[in-house]
Each structure stands twice: as C-alpha cells, then as structure tokens.
C-alpha cells in the first residue's frame, strides 16, 4: 500500500472524527450544559428540553454516534482495502 493512499485514508478518518466529535460536544456540553436554560423554555411532553438532553438525550446520541462510526469506518476500510480479512 503506497503512502498517498495511506494519507488519504487517514485524512478521511480524521474528517469523520471531527464531525462526530462536534456532534458529541454539541449535544452534551452545548444542549445539556451551556444552552440548557434556553432550551428549558421549550417543553416536550413533561420534559424541559435542556434537562432532557442532560439526563437522557445526550446519552442516546452517544450510543448512536458510536454505531454510526462503526458503520462509516467499516465502509472506509473496505473502500481503501485496509480491512481485516
């Protein structure tokens, strides 16, 4: 495997990481902490939205993020032919 494909694979990987970690930061530190009070003015059923993100929503998003990462990386590994046989 040559050097430029290696670099291209790694660059794509880093792009995924940046996007996924940005979402990770926004749902927890953003919605759950920094903007929690503003979001609390919106109510979904019995839940103030900021409180829901802090105690429920952020955790659901975390789980989804990891599985999305698994799917994206498995595809990327195949595309660059670096997957495990």
């Amino acid at each position: 495997m040559n050097n430029s494909t290696r670099q291209a694979y790694w660059k794509k990987n880093l792009q995924y990481l940046i996007v996924l970690l940005a979402i990770w930061f926004i749902v927890s530190f953003g919605c759950g902490i920094l903007f929690a009070d503003t979001l609390n003015t919106i109510k979904i059923g019995g839940f103030p939205l900021g409180f829901w993100f802090a105690q429920q929503g952020a955790i659901y998003v975390f789980v989804i993020l990891i599985f999305v990462y698994v799917v994206l990386m498995n595809r990327l590994d195949k595309a660059f032919d670096v997957d495990e046989q």
Binding site: S28, F29, Q56
Partner: protein, 563 residues
C-alpha cells in the same frame, strides 16, 4: 418468605453462578490470564465492560445523588457515558491494532523508553488501587447491611469470592463472570424501576414515564419542581448560573478520565479484531446506557415519593421503611419545633430530617411497597456491581506487577509458566491488600473517585492520544507531559480537599473550578507541555514513526497479542 430469607437465597444463587462460570473459564496461559486469549466476542466484551465499569457507586449511590441534586446530577450521567465516545473513536481501535497486553506496554513501546513505561506503570497501579479500595469498602457495607454480619466479615466474604475467580481465571474468568454479573445487576436495577414507573405514571418504561403525568393530571417533573421550590430546595430541572462552569469541568473530567482508566482500556485488548474493538465499545455504552437512563427516572420518582410522603406529616404515621432506616441511622428526625410533624426543608435551621443519599436505591422498593424478592434482588445487584468492578481493577494491578514490572523490567527471561504464577501471586496479594485497606480505609477513600478520574484524565489520556494522532510526539514530550499533568492535578486536589488535609478554601479555586473538575485543566496542561517539549527535542526514531503508521490501519492486526 421474609426479605432476609429471600436475600440469602438470591445472593447465594448468584454467587454459585459466578463460581461455576469461573471454574468453566479458568485460564491456562498468560495470554488467557491477561486478555482472555483475545477471543472474546464483541457482545460479551461489551457486557463485561459494562459490568466492569458500573461500580457500587453507579448502582447504589448515583440515583440517590441525582435525586438530591436534580439537574446538577447530570454531570455524572453525561460524564460517565460520554467518555465511551472518546474511547471508541480515539483509542480502542488503535490500541487493539497495537495488540499487546497493557497500557504501560503501549506507552513503553510508543515512547521507546523504559522510564515512560515505569511512569505509566506507577500511574496505573496508583489509579487502580485508590479505586479498588472504595469498591472493597462497598462490598463490606453491602454484606454488612443485608446479611447482618459485621463489616469486616462482609469484606472477608468479598475477598474470598473475588480471590477465587480472579486468581483462578484471570481475565478469562473475570470476563465471563462479569457477563453474568451484568445480567444480574441490570435486571435488579430495572425491575423495581418499571414497577415504580407503573405505579406513579402508569408507563412501564421509566425513561418515558419520567416525562409522564401523575394521577392528578400534572406532569411529574412539574409537580416535583413545585414541591422542591415550596420547600426551598430550588427547581429540580434547572441549575444555578454559578454552577454552570463546574458542571462543565466535572463532566469533562469524568469523560476524559473514563477514556484514560486502565481497567477500561484493557478490555479492548481482549477482542479478536480492530473492527470488534469499535463495535465492542458501542455495545458497552449501550449496556451502560440502559442503567444510566433509568437512574435519572428512578431519582425523580424517588424524590417525588419522598417529598410527598414525609412533608409535614405526623412522625407517628411514618411507614415501616422509615423506622427501619432510622434504626440503621441512615435517616434521622429531630423535632425542632415540637409539633410532632416532619418539616423537611432546605433551610438548615428549620430542617428536621436528615437522609443518607445512599439509601434511595435500596429503600426505593420498600417505599413503593414492592414484594420481598424484589428487595433481595436489589441487594444481589449491588453486590454484582461491586464485585465485578473490584475484580477488573485487581487484574490491572496484578498485570502491572507481573507483566510490566517483572517481565518487562526486572526479569525479562522469565518463562511463561513463571509469569503466570507471578500473575496469580500478584492478584492474590492485591486482593488481600485491597481488602485490608477497605476494612480500615485511609481518610482519602471517600474522595477516590475525584482522584482516580482526575489522575487518569491528566496522565494517560493525552499520552495515548498523542501517541496515535501525533507522529512527531517523542518520549521527552510524553514523559514531561504526564509528570506535569499528574503532579499538577494531585497537588490541586490535595490542596483544596480539606478531607485530605489540604489548607485551601473554596475562595482560592482557580476560575472557580472545584477539585473534582480539575483533571480537565490538568489534561490540557499535559497536552500543551507535551507538544511544546516534543517540538524542541529530537523527533522519535524512524521505527517508531513506522509503528504509528501501522497502528492507524486495521489490516494486519495479528490474533490478539501475538508477540
């Protein structure tokens, strides 16, 4: 049957199960002992990681803590789950590709230095030991309270059980026992939650029930806010402005610490492939999330129940659970104004009721009038949580001694058999040592969580991340970063923790950051020091740069830990 009989029955049955599993999965080689032979399926590894991760504190104390803190408790919920995203995306696949046994293994080879290995080794033992002492204490308390044996006997029973399956089975025994323990603890945690959710809001799913309506048509959380505000506790669902910065820093410190704890990281060395390491982190978080999303619901239900039951009620009309926990000195009532009623309010001078937060999970089934077997089940779950975490931590300590210290440092020529024996002796010594320390806990034990997470965040996390993502990082940078980070964090925590004898007062906090959250700052200091020092010194050798290139690509991961 009485609660006592049920407890003996259910706890006894679960213990038999653990022992049977341990005998079935005993280890024959060092590879089995350290990383379970590298053949654990991602699903089983996810469950084992979840049990390993969720300690007595998660199981018994967290819901109680949230119940008293309201929104402020979110820092534990997000902090102890969000770290798995970092683990899955930034650490687990690369460490699996690297394919050795321990965190010091990685640090030692990536930074081509036995000093780096030694620093990592000392950090790993220190972090794991402080953490395990607290677990042993938890085991002792749980046994003492439910089997009505003295505290020290409780710890001895705990030592005997862990000793048996950890020494016999190593990582293999521990992993499969943890799978069983996960099933016990999650069943035991969710069953009462479902019952209570049905009772209060008529919805069998607590996560949804929390946002449901009570029998009088008001939303549960609205009612809870109203009750809390009336008594002066402030709104349950919002935070004070000045607390925002601490929720932020503590959440971050817990996340970074999670991703840096050696007993969590080592779990990803046990799966067959890089692909499995990624998936396994996802399963682990899914299994953890089941408990972590149920806990806030339990907290809100329990709080509402408690306020409605006790507030301004005649003391003589209190239900039997109240008397029971009063007898155990975990609830106390002091009728200050002499009216025979309970005034439970935020104002300390008028408040008449003191409640130990730790009883919320344990008392919850009784408060909700659930059958005796459910109460016994909760006890078995608490013991499963404490034992599984203790075993995982003890293995890290034993591995550090027999593999990192003995095999790689003192006696490189030791045979496979000799190393396995050394590992068994090391774990035996560690179990007994932790038990004795738990029996007579040094004053710092109550503070260990802050300490262990802060130290893991400020030492391992940056060193490992930089080792993977910064090819230019060299040993000078990594070692100075780890040392500055861990020293800074230790001093700050010691200085501002009166329980540890530090002279500091809250007025002196840097940027108002409490000691629990300082690991976040320590992590950044480590990162900056490492980057600056590495750029001023020689780049790492070509072979190490090559190794980093290899770690970044999944193909070619040998069967686990092929030397």
């Amino acid at each position: 049957m009485s609660v006592q009989t049920w407890t003996f029955l259910i706890v006894g049955a679960t213990f038999l199960l653990y022992i049977a599993v341990a005998i079935w999965a005993r280890a024959g080689s060092t590879k089995e002992f350290y990383v379970a032979g590298g053949g654990v399926s991602p699903l089983a590894n996810g469950m084992a990681t979840a049990a390993d991760w969720m300690s007595a504190a998660s199981y018994l104390s967290m819901a109680g803590l949230i119940s008293f803190m309201g929104y402020g408790g979110s820092q534990y919920l997000m902090g102890w789950t969000g770290g798995y995203v970092l683990l899955a995306l930034l650490l687990a696949p690369y460490l699996r590709k690297f394919g050795k046994f321990t965190v010091p293994d990685f640090i030692g080879e990536r930074y081509y230095s036995s000093q780096a290995r030694l620093v990592a080794l000392i950090c790993a033992i220190f972090v794991s030991f402080t953490y395990v002492v607290g677990q042993m204490k938890g085991v002792g308390v749980a046994f003492a309270r439910f089997l009505e044996v003295p505290f020290s006997t409780g710890i001895l029973i705990g030592i005997a059980i862990v000793f048996f399956y950890a020494v016999l089975g190593g990582m293999k025994g521990i992993t499969y026992t943890q799978v069983a323990q996960y099933c016990v603890l999650i069943f035991a945690f969710t069953v009462p939650a479902i019952f209570i959710s049905l009772q209060m809001v008529g919805n069998p799913i607590p996560q949804i029930g929390m946002g449901g309506t009570l029998s009088d048509g008001t939303y549960l959380l609205d009612k809870l806010n109203l009750l809390s505000e009336d008594l002066g506790f402030g709104s349950y669902t919002t935070s004070g402005m000045d607390d925002r910065i601490n929720v932020f820093f503590i959440t971050a410190a817990l996340m970074l610490g999670t991703a840096g704890l050696p007993h969590v990281i080592v779990r990803f060395f046990t799966v067959p492939k890089v692909r499995d390491a990624r998936k396994s982190a996802g399963y682990a978080l899914l299994f953890i999330a089941i408990l972590y999303t149920t806990a806030p619901a339990v907290a809100a239900f329990a709080r509402t129940n408690l306020l409605q039951t006790v507030s301004n009620t005649e003391y003589t009309e209190m239900p039997s659970w109240f008397k029971k926990w009063e007898g155990a000195e975990l609830i106390s009532f002091d009728d200050k104004n002499g009216d025979g009623r309970i005034q439970y309010v935020a104002d300390k001078t008028a408040n008449e009721l003191t409640i130990d937060r730790d009883i919320m999970v344990l008392a919850n089934p009784e408060i909700a009038n659930l059958p005796a077997w459910v109460i016994a089940l909760v006890v078995a779950g608490g013991l499963a949580a404490a034992l599984s975490t203790a075993a995982g931590l003890l293995l890290v300590i034993a591995t550090s001694i027999s593999h990192d210290l003995l095999k790689n440092y003192l006696r490189p020529n030791i045979s496979e058999k000799g190393e396995l024996l050394a590992a068994r002796i090391a774990i035996a010594v560690a179990v007994v040592g932790a038990g004795l320390a738990g029996m007579n806990p040094p004053g710092f034990v109550a503070q260990v969580v802050a300490l262990a997470f802060g130290l893991a965040a400020s030492s391992f996390f940056p060193a490992i991340i930089l080792g993977i993502f910064d090819k230019r990082m060299n040993k000078e940078g990594a070692i100075s970063g780890m040392i500055v980070g861990i020293v800074f964090t230790t001093i700050y925590i010691w200085y501002f923790k009166p329980q540890l004898g530090g002279p500091g007062t809250p007025d002196g906090y840097w940027f108002g950051i409490r000691p629990e959250g300082i690991g976040t700052l320590g992590m950044f200091i480590n990162l900056i020091v490492a980057l600056v020092v590495s750029r001023m010194t020689a780049p790492p050798p070509e072979s190490v740069q090559q190794m980093v290139e290899e770690i970044r690509i999944p193909r070619g991961a040998g069967k686990a830990a092929a030397h």
